[in-house]
Each structure stands twice: as structure tokens, then as C-alpha cells.
């Protein structure tokens, strides 16, 4: 019983630490675009990337397969907006995504990668659904604008159910970690923290 509970809690905290890394990396990349005061990179300065790496180290220490595949999933999903854009690696977004996906499958197996991709995609969809209005004001075109609000929420349901079907053992702790982190972030962004 205790090993099962410990595994559940370790996966949940691993997801939370991984989410902190992704949030810090995203804020670091978007610090010139973001106009609001809730950008962590602006508050932490150049140290934000270092804190991000530190958080990723904690996540990997708790559960390597979950945290690394979730990070790779975020990297691939994040590239979807820049598929034709060329990066310093001289590869475009699509080529980098495929390369990262193949490396992830080789190291962690297809099931873990597909689970992470579907889970991260569902989080991206629900985030875009919530930020629909604010992104429209800024001029950023997200999934909710591309697909439509109802399609976005239905696709979110579909991808999260598909993730559940792909790996039933990991789904509950990963979802709990994502809900804790996202809930805290929303609470903070509304000025309650």
C-alpha cells in the first residue's frame, strides 16, 4: 500500500516541478511580448532559467520517465505555432518536433510519449479556451481562435480521454499535479495570492 501511495505522490510532485520549469521557460521566451505583471521571468530576471533547470532536476529526481516525457511533449506542442519557422539548429519547427518525438520514443517508449503528447495537448487546449478573450486583445492567435470555442473544448475532452486510455496508471497522479499547478497559477494571476 505505502509504495503505491509514495509513487502516486512522487509522480504528482514530479509533474508540479516539471510544470514550474515549463512555465519559467515559457515566461523567459515571452518576456518581451508579455505586457502583464504576472511574468515570472520579469520578476526573477536572468535567474529564471536557472530556477527552471533546478526545478527540472527535482522533477527528474522524483520520476524521470514522467517528467522528461512531459517536457518533451511540451516542447513538441509548443512548436506547433512555429512549424515553418527556422531555429538556430537550422531545422524548422516540424523537423525539430519529429526529431524530438523520435528521440523520446527511442528513450522512453511510444506509450509514454503518446500519453505525454495527448495530455499536454489537452492542457494547451483548455488554456487557450480560458485565454480566448485576452489572447484576442493582444493579437495572439491560439487554438480556440483557429478551431472555434466548442471544437476546442470537445477536442480537449477527446485528447484527455485518449491520454487516460493510453496509460490508466499514470493518468490520475499526472492530472492531479497539473490541476494543482494550474489552479494555483490561475489563483495567482487573478491577484488572490
Amino acid at each position: 500500500m505505502w509504495p503505491a501511495i509514495f509513487e502516486f505522490i512522487s509522480i504528482t510532485f514530479s509533474v508540479i516541478f516539471c510544470a514550474i520549469t515549463i512555465k519559467l521557460a515559457d515566461d523567459f521566451l515571452d518576456q518581451d511580448i508579455d505586457t502583464n505583471d504576472y511574468n515570472f521571468a520579469k520578476r526573477l530576471g536572468n535567474g529564471s532559467m536557472l530556477y527552471g533547470i533546478l526545478s527540472m532536476v527535482f522533477a527528474v529526481s522524483l520520476n524521470a520517465s514522467v517528467s522528461i516525457t512531459l517536457f518533451l511533449g511540451c516542447y513538441i506542442i509548443g512548436m506547433f505555432h512555429d512549424l515553418k519557422h527556422y531555429f538556430p539548429s537550422h531545422l524548422n519547427g516540424l523537423q525539430e518536433s519529429i526529431l524530438v518525438l523520435m528521440i523520446g520514443i527511442v528513450f522512453w517508449g511510444w506509450q509514454a510519449m503518446v500519453f505525454s503528447l495527448l495530455f499536454v495537448f489537452s492542457i494547451q487546449l483548455v488554456d487557450d479556451y480560458i485565454d480566448d478573450y485576452t489572447d484576442q486583445l493582444v493579437g495572439h492567435r491560439n487554438w480556440s481562435h483557429r478551431l472555434g470555442r466548442v471544437e476546442c473544448i470537445l477536442l480537449f475532452l477527446l485528447s484527455i480521454l485518449a491520454a487516460w486510455l493510453t496509460n490508466e496508471r499514470l493518468f490520475a497522479p499526472v492530472l492531479l499535479g497539473a490541476v494543482i499547478f494550474y489552479g494555483t497559477l490561475l489563483y495567482y494571476q487573478r491577484g488572490n495570492l
Partner: protein
């Protein structure tokens, strides 16, 4: 259970996208048919063209002027 739920969501998504697309096409066709009739009806009711703002009398005089000009 999970597979059934996924099948239901896929059916909802496909049905919604299909219905929305069909609605857009149908609405465009209906608009293309009814707008010229509505424009004509409103122009006749108001006595002037609601697009170019010219009265019927002025328009007739303008057309007559055009014809005379051509004869010259």
C-alpha cells in the same frame, strides 16, 4: 467504458463540425438569394436606392442624359 466515451466525444465533434460547415454554406446561399430582393424592396419603399442614395427620378434623368450624350 473509456472507449465508449471517446466514441461519443468523436461523434459529437464530427457532428458539430459537419453541422457548422453545413450551416455556413446554407446561410451564404440563402443570403446571396435574399439580399438583392431585400435591397430592392427597401429601395422601392423609401423611394431612393439605399446603396447609391440616388432617387428614382434623378436616376432616370441621369440615364436620359447618358442616352442624349451618346446620340451627340
Amino acid at each position: 467504458m473509456l472507449s465508449t466515451m471517446i466514441a461519443v466525444v468523436i461523434a459529437l465533434l464530427v457532428g458539430y463540425i459537419w453541422g457548422k460547415r453545413d450551416g455556413i454554406v446554407c446561410g451564404n446561399q440563402q443570403g446571396a438569394v435574399s439580399i438583392p430582393l431585400l435591397l430592392r424592396q427597401q429601395s422601392l419603399e423609401k423611394g431612393y436606392c439605399i446603396l447609391c442614395n440616388k432617387s428614382k427620378k434623378k436616376r432616370m434623368l441621369y440615364k436620359l442624359g447618358e442616352k442624349r450624350g451618346k446620340r451627340r
